[in-house]
């Protein structure tokens, strides 16, 4: 069978897989947001819930959001990358199936087995619940993550094969050869560059995750096999940092590919673009010690690295992607349809999240901000106001009617409500952090409760607007086109 006929016959099947990805993405985002609002409402004493359930829901929200952000990122990367290289539909589907199996295992662990070890399963907490959850429950959680990780690795393996087949080496796909020779090929797709970066970092990250997951699993049943707690923490935060960051690096492909369709301006690779993505490949890998700034037993040079690389990591985001997006719209004639609005909001959210992140990456600040609500404050900026709007922009674009010219006014309204409520919700996290409120506390002191109550209300509005987008998007699911 020639590739041409293959791609023609494969089309409807691939479209169906994409629809399954999208339906899963939307459903899980809404449910996990509900879990998030419940947590804020519990902290705000609007509803009563015992701490064991709070921490189970916290674990669910963390694992569910990180996982679904990864899945949504994969769908965006797959959607655009398949225009340049030939990906295997079966492996795209396999990732989804393994994901769902993993989700079922995790749900069982948390809802039936009462596992509440936090999504980061920090060793040795999964094995030491003081009788709250069993080793089997912990194993189901850890095993669920492992199954999900294997799905991602399969997908990336296919990406690696496809990129190598077309470009010969990952260095060429990333554009390193162009940086060295100084001859920039402006026809080299940004999507290929970003996908290669994600492939490299997330394969390493997920493998590190697999190592610590397997060790944790073994330790659960053979407690004499102990793990060094500091090594475990390094592996977990390395994996966690890379994985969650990769979700944004996958989703930003939607900005590079789609924003030009609304601005009428090209987004081509340039020398700074390639340099930024090569630098990010390295920086995402070595920046993770900023999660361990309060572990004084870490070698000092690693903590210095954590701070300095955190600063440097801001440069590609601000001076390449944000700058590029702004030049896309500057004195242009932009068609401000829903997707364009979401994509620009996403770039803003990502850029803005860099600010509190970098500030907290400074050791002297981290000494009084680490593990306060400042931390969820910064990453909800990236994720809720960055990553998620990239996904929404992508979905509204690919599901729009062929000749859609009229704007859906209700979605336009929803956009503003979502943006304002999400901003307010995030600022309540940041402000609580300023007030030294610890993160991951089921019950708050009386003085902190007013912030929680405001946050619960804003979070509820975010949830309702997301529910509205979900209904709209599900209704348009049949309009989805692979060539939009």
């Amino acid at each position: 069978m020639t590739t041409r006929t293959q791609s023609v016959t494969a089309q409807p099947r691939e479209r169906l897989y994409l629809q399954l990805y999208i339906a899963t993405t939307l459903a899980i985002f809404v449910l996990m947001m509900l879990a998030g609002v419940v947590m804020r409402a519990v902290q705000g004493t609007y509803i009563h819930m015992s701490p064991d359930w709070f921490y189970q829901i916290m674990t669910l929200h963390g694992a569910g959001m990180v996982g679904i952000a990864g899945l949504a990122g994969v769908s965006i990367m797959w959607y655009f990358l398949r225009r340049y290289v030939s990906l295997t539909p079966g492996l795209f589907l396999a990732n989804l199936i393994l994901f769902i199996i993993g989700v079922v295992m995790i749900l069982g662990a948390i809802l039936l087995g009462k596992f509440g070890g936090g999504w980061t399963f920090l060793y040795p907490l999964p094995a030491k619940s003081m009788g709250l959850w069993s080793h089997n429950a912990a194993a189901a959680y850890v095993g669920g993550l492992l199954v999900i990780g294997i799905g991602f690795l399969l997908f990336y393996l296919d990406v690696a094969r496809a990129l190598l087949a077309k470009y010969g080496s990952l260095g060429r796909a990333l554009g390193v050869n162009q940086l060295i020779s100084g001859r920039i090929d402006t026809d080299h797709p940004p999507t290929v560059v970003a996908s290669t970066m994600v492939l490299i970092v997330n394969t390493i990250g997920t493998l590190a995750g697999a190592v610590i997951l397997v060790l944790t699993l073994v330790n659960l049943y053979y407690p004499t096999m102990q793990i060094d707690a500091l090594w475990a923490k390094n592996l977990i935060y390395f994996f966690g940092h890379v994985f969650i960051n990769a979700t944004i690096y996958m989703a930003v492909i939607a900005v590079y590919e789609l924003l030009p369709k609304y601005t009428g301006r090209p987004w081509k690779v340039t020398r700074p673009f390639l340099a930024a993505w090569s630098a990010s490949t390295l920086m995402v890998i070595i920046v993770y010690p900023h999660h361990l700034l309060m572990d004084m037993v870490m070698p000092d040079w690693m903590l210095v690295l954590g701070q300095v690389i955190s600063y440097l990591s801001g440069i590609p985001v601000l001076l390449v992607t944000t700058y590029g997006a702004l030049v896309q719209i500057h004195h242009a004639k932009v068609r401000w349809d829903t997707p364009a609005k979401f994509l620009i909001l996403a770039v803003f959210g990502w850029a803005a999240g860099v600010v509190p992140a970098i500030i907290d990456g400074t050791i002297v600040v981290n000494q009084v901000m680490h593990n306060t609500l400042w931390v969820p404050g910064h990453f909800h900026f990236y994720l809720l106001l960055g990553m998620l709007p990239m996904v929404l922009g992508f979905l509204f674009h690919i599901s729009r009617h062929e000749n859609e010219t009229t704007k859906d006014r209700s979605v336009g309204m929803g956009f503003w409500i979502f943006m304002v409520s999400a901003l307010l919700f995030i600022f309540m996290f940041l402000y609580s952090g300023v007030m030294s409120v610890p993160r991951r506390w089921a019950e708050h002191l009386a003085a902190w409760i007013p912030y929680d109550q405001w946050a619960a209300l804003f979070g509820l509005v975010v949830l309702l607007s997301m529910l509205f987008f979900t209904v709209k998007l599900l209704a348009r699911l049949t309009h989805i086109r692979l060539e939009a």
């Binding site: 309060m294 440069i315 593990n371």
Partner: protein, 173 residues
């Protein structure tokens, strides 16, 4: 420090909002891309070097002296052992005088915990991780009398939020 972080965040995010809004307002004129790109990208390299220089200055001033080192002569420090376990704190000493320089040697018997010192206004003053198998040191000098609190700052299970204790700081000797 917390308020400095807050105001810096508000200023820089405010600046980003102003930039985004003004660019969005400009997005109706339809000028040629080549012209706009040439003008806009001229500034990028300058901005890059500005950021690098600012980053170096901030890094040096915030890393020297090393933030985790003692600010006083180590010989004058009181050494206090801190052992965390699910879900309580054991300290070799919980009463201090204002002006006492203390070296907390922090470890854990079971899972990871976080040793966070809060002053009488519940404002965080300092913290360090408590990790099984390791001893982290935190140097801290009490400067005001009052009832201080220790809060657990690393999620450690069911009663994590109840894992607190009190430090009494008397007026200076």
């Amino acid at each position: 420090m917390q308020h400095l972080a807050w105001y810096l965040t508000l200023i820089f995010i405010g600046l980003l909002i102003v930039i985004f809004v003004s660019f969005i307002f400009s997005s109706k004129s339809g000028e040629s891309y080549e012209e706009v790109a040439r003008r806009d990208y001229r500034h990028r390299q300058k901005l890059f070097w500005l950021v690098i220089v600012a980053g170096v200055i901030i890094s040096v001033t915030t890393l020297l002296p090393w933030p985790h080192s003692a600010t006083t002569n180590p010989a004058n420090e009181k050494v206090v052992q801190v052992v965390a376990s699910q879900w309580h704190w054991e300290l070799s000493q919980q009463q201090f005088h204002s002006g006492d320089a203390v070296k907390f040697e922090v470890t854990s018997k079971d899972v990871n915990h976080g040793f966070g010192i809060y002053d009488a206004n519940m404002k965080m003053q300092a913290q360090v991780q408590a990790m099984p198998g390791y001893t982290n040191t935190l140097h801290y000098t009490f400067t005001k009398p009052g009832e201080y609190k220790v809060l657990c700052l690393e999620y450690c299970g069911l009663a994590h939020h109840n894992m607190t204790t009190t430090l009494t700081v008397l007026s200076a000797r």
